[in-house]
Symmetry: D2
Subunit: 353 residues, 4 copies
């Protein structure tokens, strides 16, 4: 049994490392000993009080490591095996899961369980429920530093691209090139977009965006982003737009920048907006412009993870370029506070155990 | 050549019957001599000034008749043939049309040409552009009184149901049971919904709704419609909701009444709302509930018309039950003003020539 | 513990009722006490030696009853609850299941476990694996006599219709109107087909087919079925065809009767054909006619079952009309042999316990 | 008017250059003065007698040039403009076109009009029907040598990849790496395949295949291709397979190499096979393995062309690397005979005018 260190939120607005008992597996669970984790902006939101979570809950949902203990009804895994687990851990058995909405397991956002429904995995050990479906062995030739991006960033960003329902050669725009927006850019490139407009003003993000497949960088500090894109497309706009920031302005920009028949794909988290999102009537063709809006939450499960590993193996993109900083677990608080303040050109800080 | 009578809007807020020249066909056009037409609420909006149209333009976009003249490059039709024409008459050749967004022919709402871009068809004769694709012969065993519903009501309502992307056995709600909402109810029934909640308070519409396949009538005067539906579905909500009224309240209700993973299909016309539509963040899962919103405009073309005729022929629904009133063309103004004031339980007035 | 009676195949070519121990549940299982079951033609094939199964295996995969015992890790059910279980019982957790191919759980046809991988359920008690996903409570107002059709016939037939990927108003043909073909007819009618050609020569099946939505009965004893359908569609053929017999001739007929762009949906079992199926080059447009062929196996899971129950509740079709004969479990052998010989206009025999 | 040189088939088995009148445009046509063309294997088949064509018909369907004359009802183009035209020139107005099956315009393979229904375009001038939809202006920064690959090779190959209906990260195999197979490899890479097995034994094709995105080259002279792929995928097989040769063996290999739930996409031309194609029952799971087979014909229209041009502009692949030989139009016969005999490592010969 024994105890372990865990990075927790004792109350809204504060974080610290505490001792907790190492979790024990139920019949269908697996316990993982953590080796690598990423800090996510969602946790910054959580600590600000965006989600109602239990005081003292462990933070974190992007982590991987080696198998430490295996539940009695779980087969197919071995102790010591290097594995990753998605931020979203659905049961795959409820009616939401059976109809394909696994991120909505049991109800709205129900697949997002770390921190929200159980202790997160920014800790030395963590529990994986429904292990048969959620524990993903990492291929030998995929590094842990790369694999950890499959836990949330790549899966969410790729979903953003998938929800664009691209026809081969469609054009697209992505608003914001943080880690999830950059991942959406990779995804659009993988899914056949011919032209990808990436809206971003920070130089190291612009550069990475180009490396990941953006064909046009739109700097919104140099003029209205929507106008720049409309002009660059001969007044037409794009076939699809990804909202990857969670701001009301970028949401509306997505509706304005898409042509009739266009698709808006939301992956930004809008929990900090006090007001409903707005759908401008002209941009929406008074409800008749054949536009579609899709939303979603990081798809989980080990099949999803294996697909992302297989794509990493092609060498077409290197997710570790998003890791701008690395901290030992004892310094996770420093990384967390840099993430809060967006200091030093930070994109994504890696935590090692 | 000669002249004909046409029902026009000489200026915003006013209508009258005037004499106009009978149109002549260009090489790819056909001229139809009108026999039957329906008055559409959209025209009521147009006369109020919702759409910027030319003063003196002929109103109307739901009409059928017999072929009067055929353009030099058009083959496959004969004079005197009984034909119907959809409210939307796309070119089928531009890039929007080639990618499947025919209602957005050439740009936003561009397939809607009658009244908006050319004289409408509430007149003794009317022109059909791109005739090869837009002139739909009416099968012998489909009456003109039924066929005229394919011009807009059934095509739009069915699109509302198609945009629900139903899985077999899904549940759905339709907000408002005017002619287009009733048509959506028929469409949901045709496409495999297991339970259809129809929100309506007017008795003759409720009755027709049941005949068209609604399983549950929700009277919003007897309690909040969303709550009634949520309760009837054990707290879950429905898989899909159709907005068929064009009110901000019903739009928001659609977002609230759908479960995670649900789809909102807009067919209401929101041109009279002064404000952007609102997407409540809780109902939208903060952007992560896997909800989708689809919008659209009546699909045109003679293939669409033939499909609707074929469905009418099955006898599974009788569209003429929506015809609550009939007027001769000389009295179209009376019908129009009843439509404006929703008098005498009016659903849809038929105009005969 | 105790023992129970089970209908088994002691060796290829022979069946009998024997005593077996009542199964006990593992942590994720449920044990059901059987009340109603249907005999399936697949079992007739199995007894002929079509599938390699263990000698002495219990037959049957279409059964329902009440919950007798519940595994230690299973929640949400109560003893005595009336429940049905699909013929296919996937784990919903493996990579095949996670990508949506639940009938191919773990590999080809792997979701089909009764008889093939474990004892079937033509017995007084039977085990349900992955119970959370596979045990389907039956709504109070759905009779067991109707619900039992959801276990295989309706789910398979509806899949046959779903694999037609109908556009609203498409035309379709179904080859053979046994229980699964009749179910496909219901499915096509539920999914928006405008015209349904049902190929069948037996009078009671023809009659039921019409009641279930067929618009045209094609009697193949009165002329080539393909030619009759081509002629009835002005030389065009249909948009989709369902193979519901498992004969090489009907398979080829499906390819011949579909127009360019058409879809062939196979639900017939071809295990008794000694030769590969043939795709005639002219009917296939030399590989360029935009035709698609889909195949599949009964979709399982309790979500699927609940959807079918919800459709039964609409009253749009009555599956119990397919029950031509009823036997007590002790007489199951009689029913089985009538099924083998297609005696007395048999469509589907119900077994009561 | 005047005359021009055209490469014709005076009778089955023979070709020659003859003088013909320069075509004149009907109201909806455009006449193009040819500058570049590619010789297609389909024409080799045609000359062998595979398609019933008129004696003396002009061959060729992959050509581009500059606009020479414009029909009276055509707008939006100017004389001298550099334009390309797809091998398939649908009307976009008939019911097949309206339902999205534009290559089946008017009936099976009806969009393929050059040579089959009218003179082809291996001539100094050629006619484009339905010019508004079929004439594609070439962007300034796309060379004619690259653009000409959009006329058939890239459009057909990309369709082969599209018909694989890939989920992000799926695996795929392509049988044969001729120009159309190589284009399918590019397409699979553009559409998110993680692993692409390219079956080919000729060294220059293997090399090009790798440059176009193949991750694994399978040399069928060194062992059974299916077995090699099955082994490389841990016994599973691939998610999708493209038949790009038109041989019965590769067709069957596609069925054998795909896992349950897999998709077979046919782009090979099977007109030279005397026998129906065969679907092996084990590979097809006796009709129940959830496999799908898709077929199709090069998608045409200027939207398709513009999408391909936009993808060429990304620089992700260089189609001109498929041009192994170049001939002046007067020597087209030499190129044609090299194509017949697959001499000198030929992949695709370019003809300049």
């Amino acid at each position: 049994m024994g105890t372990m260190k865990a990075f927790v939120m004792p109350e809204v607005g504060r974080t610290e490392i505490v001792e907790k008992p190492i979790p024990e597996p139920g019949p269908n669970d697996v316990i993982v000993k953590t080796t690598h984790a990423l800090i996510c902006t969602s946790d910054v939101h959580t600590v600000k009080g965006a989600l109602p979570v239990k005081d003292g809950v462990t933070l974190g949902h992007e982590a991987l490591g080696v198998i430490h203990a295996i539940g009695s009804a779980v087969t197919g895994f071995t102790e010591g095996q290097r594995v990753a687990v998605n931020a979203v851990t659905p049961c795959f058995e409820c009616r939401y899961c059976q109809t394909g909405y696994t991120s909505q397991c049991g109800g709205p956002l129900g697949g997002y369980q770390y921190t929200a429904q159980r202790d997160g995995n920014m800790a030395e050990y963590f529990l994986v429920p429904h292990a048969k479906a959620n524990v993903a062995p990492i291929p030998e030739d995929v590094s842990s530093e790369a694999a950890v991006y499959a836990c949330d960033m790549l899966s969410t960003g790729f979903m953003g691209a998938e929800h664009c329902y691209l026809k081969l050669g469609d054009t697209a725009a992505v608003f914001a090139q943080g880690a999830v927006g950059l991942s959406a850019t990779i995804g659009l490139s993988l899914l056949g977009a011919s032209r990808i407009f990436a809206v971003e003003s920070i130089p190291n993000r612009q550069e990475l965006s180009k490396a990941y497949g953006a064909t046009d960088i739109i700097d919104f500090t140099k003029g209205d982003a929507v106008e720049q894109i409309i002009q660059a497309t001969d007044g037409e706009g794009v076939d699809a737009a990804v909202e990857a920031l969670g701001f009301p302005q970028t949401w509306e920009a997505c509706l304005r920048v898409t042509k009739a028949g266009g698709r808006v794909s939301n992956i930004g988290y809008h929990g900090e907006n006090p007001e409903p999102l707005r759908v401008p009537l002209d941009a929406f063709g008074l409800g008749m412009a054949d536009k579609a809006i899709h939303s979603g939450l990081c798809p989980g499960g080990n099949d999803r993870m294996q697909r992302i590993f297989a794509l990493i193996r092609t060498g077409r993109f290197d997710p570790t370029r998003m890791t701008t900083h690395t901290f030992a677990f004892d310094d996770v608080g420093t990384g967390f506070s840099m993430m809060q303040n967006k200091e030093d050109g930070i994109i994504k800080p890696l935590i090692t155990f």
